[in-house]
């Protein structure tokens, strides 16, 4: 690389790393010296544990619902309805342009109808449908890429000619070959749910992001520590994508590269 090339890389790195380093430095500050006090305070706070595990559970449920919804859909679109692929792609990209605040107001309206059983209304799992919608683009593009990398028609027909029905074909032949895409979609959805603030806050649920917000407004050093923790979670999810994309013998997954 040329010298000016390195210069711009350095500028870019500084832009991303400086705030992070400053936050990290601040999170360790304890009066005039450094300690883990701020982290200890966070980890000892029962609210941290409650909200963290609630968000974790919501993320897992969201991922399961999204996978169950999208794997058969994308498979069928590729196999039988390729002419509808642009339409599905458009619909799945909508959450990029519709802000979550609009989405949650709409969803709350829906939940106000009579048919929603009252005793469940307090359950945070009512957030899951909204999260699934927010995750549409991530799930769809990750899976769409994975399906395009394999010959869906030939593999399906080969499986059928050998006597397999739809369930076995999907489970034993198709799924293992799009697993990388499914996992990439899952990790992205995970990172999304672990950081989604607007919907939870407006629906008055205390999830991990609303807890971060609360701490941020009340305690200085623990807020910095929490920022670093939450950043670490996102990073782990991204590393997960890199890891599953690099398994030998598999096509590397390009996340989000499918919007053509």
């Amino acid at each position: 690389m040329t010298r000016s090339g390195w210069f711009w890389v350095a500028v870019g790195l500084l832009y991303f790393l400086l705030p992070l380093a400053a936050t990290a430095e601040f999170s360790f500050k304890d009066g005039d010296s450094y300690s883990f006090a701020a982290y200890r305070e966070i980890f000892d706070d029962p609210q941290f544990r409650d909200t963290f595990f609630l968000s974790l559970k919501l993320a897992i449920v969201t991922i399961i619902v999204a996978l169950l919804l999208f794997i058969p859909t994308v498979y069928w679109v590729h196999l039988r309805l390729p002419q509808f692929r642009p339409l599905v792609q458009f619909l799945c990209a909508l959450p990029f342009v519709v802000p979550p605040i609009v989405l949650i107001v709409g969803i709350l309206y829906v939940y106000n109808y009579q048919w929603v059983p009252g005793k469940y209304l307090g359950s945070p799992y009512y957030l899951v449908p909204g999260y699934v919608v927010l995750g549409f683009p991530f799930m769809f593009f990750a899976l769409d890429n994975a399906f395009r990398a394999i010959d869906v028609h030939t593999l399906t027909e080969a499986s059928q000619s050998l006597g397999a029905g739809w369930t076995r074909t999907l489970w034993k032949v198709i799924l293992p070959n799009i697993l990388t895409g499914a996992l990439a979609g899952a990790f992205l959805t995970f990172a999304l749910v672990m950081g989604e603030f607007t919907m939870a806050s407006l629906a008055l649920f205390n999830t991990f992001p609303t807890y971060i917000n609360y701490i941020g407004q009340t305690k200085a050093n623990p807020a910095a520590a929490l920022t670093i923790i939450s950043f670490g979670i996102t990073w782990l999810a991204l590393l997960g994508i890199l890891f599953v994309g690099r398994r030998p013998g598999r096509t590397a997954v390009q996340v989000g590269g499918g919007a053509r």
Partner: protein, 365 residues
Amino acid sequence: MAYLELEKLHKEFGDFTAIEEIDVSIQAGEFLSLLGPSGCGKTTALRIVAGFERPTSGRVVVEGKDLTNVPPNHRDMGMVFQAYSLFPNMTAEANVEFGLRVRGQSGAERRKRVEDLLELVGLSAAAKRYPHQLSGGMQQRVALARALAIEPRVLLLDEPLSALDAKVRVQLREEIRRLQTQLGITTLYVTHDQEEALSVSDRVAVLSQGQIEQIGAPAEIYNAPGTPFVAEFIGTMNRLEATVAEEGQVQVNGMVLAVTDARGLPRGERVLVLIRPEILDLQRADGAASSALVGEVVAHIFLGAITRVKVDAGEHELSADLPGHRAAELPVGSQVAASFPADGGRVLALSEQPEGPAERAPAGQ
């Protein structure tokens, strides 16, 4: 009774007619090829037999049982695809095993059968390899073993060699034929490569525009093409437009040629005389017989054992295959006379011409 019957198959995709009518019976253990240019309906016919397409009308019957509405996974047909059909997540062994697992065969029996089949296709050493670690030829061998593993009623091959190198192609087609003869399995083979079809089949059905033009043994198809289309499609053919003259004679450009095949045709009828390049003989024009076509050598094409000599004979361009030393005596520019034995030419009435390629209107015009 025939083992596999395609009864009056007809298939339309919207406005497009893929198969006009195909009606063919295949005997048990027979190797039949469907041969034709792309878009002739051969692959559609195969897919109907496999169950991936439903015919618009007509039936698929195996051993007297109507399978037309049976889904593909209940048909017991072994299929080998063009390429990329092996399951990428499974080893060669697991691919072959797949159909046996579906059938719930016990572990020991299954492993024995997988071993036998991989040995049969010469790939025992590659059992543990994944498809991406195998060459194209090896992948197709595994696909063949996988299709044979389930002991299918019919083996279906959809241009299985088209993605391979020339050398591997010849090797593998001979092996397919050897296995087919050894196992006595009824086989339907789709290809656009005439050499491939002629070299491996018991019978060849030549298809054009969704119809069978001619069906017969390879030698019959090659030596006695029944329609101008078949004559044009199979091998190289010299075509002479002629008029029937005396008994057993035709007139070309005012010259009378003896052709045994023209016997019994009404005098004055317009016909097409077809002569293979290897039948046509060339002599220097000075000492030539009177019943010959005269022209000028315009090109030599070296084909290894023989040289194809192109002759411009006015209205016709002729090709003659000669041994190298004979061709050398007739350099480009020399005047030559072409002749052929009376029983070496084939005569087709020109009224059959509308089915031939020359008169075919391209689709969509």
